[in-house]
Amino acid sequence: MADDLKSTVLHDAHVALGARMVPFAGYAMPVQYPDGIMAEHRWTRESCGVFDVSHMGPFFFSLNDKTGDRDADHAAIAAIAEKLGPRDLTGLKPGQIRYTVLLNDEGGMIDDLMVARPCIEANAGTLYVVVNAGGKERDFALFEAAAAGKATLKRADDRALIAVQGPKAVDVVSEIFPEAAGLGFMTFTRLEYEGEGVLVARSGYTGEDGFEILVMPSVAVSFWNRLLADERVKPIGLGARDSLRLEAGLPLYGHDADESVSPIEAGLGMAVSPSRRRKGDFPGAARIERELSGGLARVRAGLLVEGAPAREGAVIANQYGVAVGVVTSGGFSPTLSRPIAMGFVPPELSAPGTVLTVIVRDRAQAATVADLPFVPHRYHRKALESV
């Protein structure tokens, strides 16, 4: 393996587990363990999988001159972050996480990310942010530029970020952190593990209930091993992470979205807050407005593919054989036992049930537009629970 690859703090633990390590976003990462992608995928859907996602880009973004007025300090740091994207962050409640996107001046996606307001009110004026691994250096620079000296970015990507996902994740995690069971989807809290602070978020990218936990490097291996000591838990590599998020209909930046793709095209309209749309005060607002007003040229759709899996780059054609789009993610769904894909198609061809074709090795195969997600999400939404 190339020497210039970075390693996460859990690297040796993966190797000891027999992982197959591959280069990914500049890091040596486990693509699978000896059980293999199919078994790992199924285990996550049925029990609990743990994933090392420490290659991602967690950081803290803090106002330099806090006034002590918590809401004002939060509003001030949120206003800086809002310069980069279309989602309302001012309205974040303590401990709440929101999904958003960074946009370029043409309304194309620079990245997608999670932004959270600290649960501890004394820390108001700081945001906890996690960006994707692939573009994290550029993302950090964007936040620093937006801060213009008024805020400071402190990266936390030396720590371990561990995702614990699956229907049994809550039982597993609450044995270590009883408080975790009380968190709703897209909220987080600060707890302690072996005397070190950890951030426990009820979030993930598999479609399952679960947690993403930021752990100090000094206790990361101990925490990882503690999770794995639970017989309900198995380690899961990037291969199954990809097939899980594909089934969950979740876009992967760099594949289903890039700088040419708007959040509206990507089906991420929830990242555009109505209040921000009214103000139009974010990069690329004119394009977003045009697309929301009916001027949308393409949209991300799910496809149930017949025959061979259609991979990224496969052409999508209409019933007359005319190319109408391209597959951006595709593979085999272990849950549905069939090939599935996502790709861009014109809005008029995006209704579920529309029959299209995908071109695989010069042959046209039937592909039917399907609702996303392919496999229902099982998030632990508190609001739903109280209904």
């Binding site: 693509v31 699978q32 293999g36 992608i37 199919m38 078994a39 995928h41 291969g239 199954a240 990809d242 097939s243 025959g307 061979a308 899996p309 991979r311 593979g331 085999f332 272990p334 090939p339 090795r361």
Partner: protein, 121 residues
């Protein structure tokens, strides 16, 4: 049985070669979810991509270890691609080829040589 450096195997009976992928290749691929075998009657040149095997993650070409004409393809693989993981060097054969030059088979590695080759990977 003979083997290629691309991890195909060949077994020659008369002038009919049965070909498939090795257990090592199947293990490297992981769970096989789709196999595309060649059409009967297709003429192969040794080294040509003649079949495709797909795992959850990726598609991989399978290369013809010998030249000749495809006389039979394993129809069971379409419905049961997992056979490639379960029995790669026997029941999960890909195709039978009427070889044009049996000498090509002799040039390939025998089991001992292939195992030695694997050790060096």
């Amino acid at each position: 049985m003979r083997f290629t450096e691309d991890h195909e195997w060949v077994e020659l009976n008369g002038d009919i070669a049965t070909v498939g992928i090795t257990a090592y290749a199947a293990g490297q691929l992981g769970d096989v979810v789709f196999v595309e075998t060649p059409d009967v009657g297709k003429t192969l040149k040794a080294g040509d991509a003649f079949a495709v095997v797909e795992s959850v993650k990726a598609a991989s070409d399978v290369y013809a270890p010998v030249s000749g004409e495809v006389v039979e393809a394993n129809g069971d693989l379409a419905g049961s691609p997992e056979m490639v993981n379960q029995d790669p060097e026997k029941d999960a054969w890909f195709a039978k080829v009427k070889v044009s030059d049996p000498g090509e088979v002799e040039k390939l590695m025998d089991r001992a040589a292939y195992e030695k080759f694997l050790e060096g990977l």
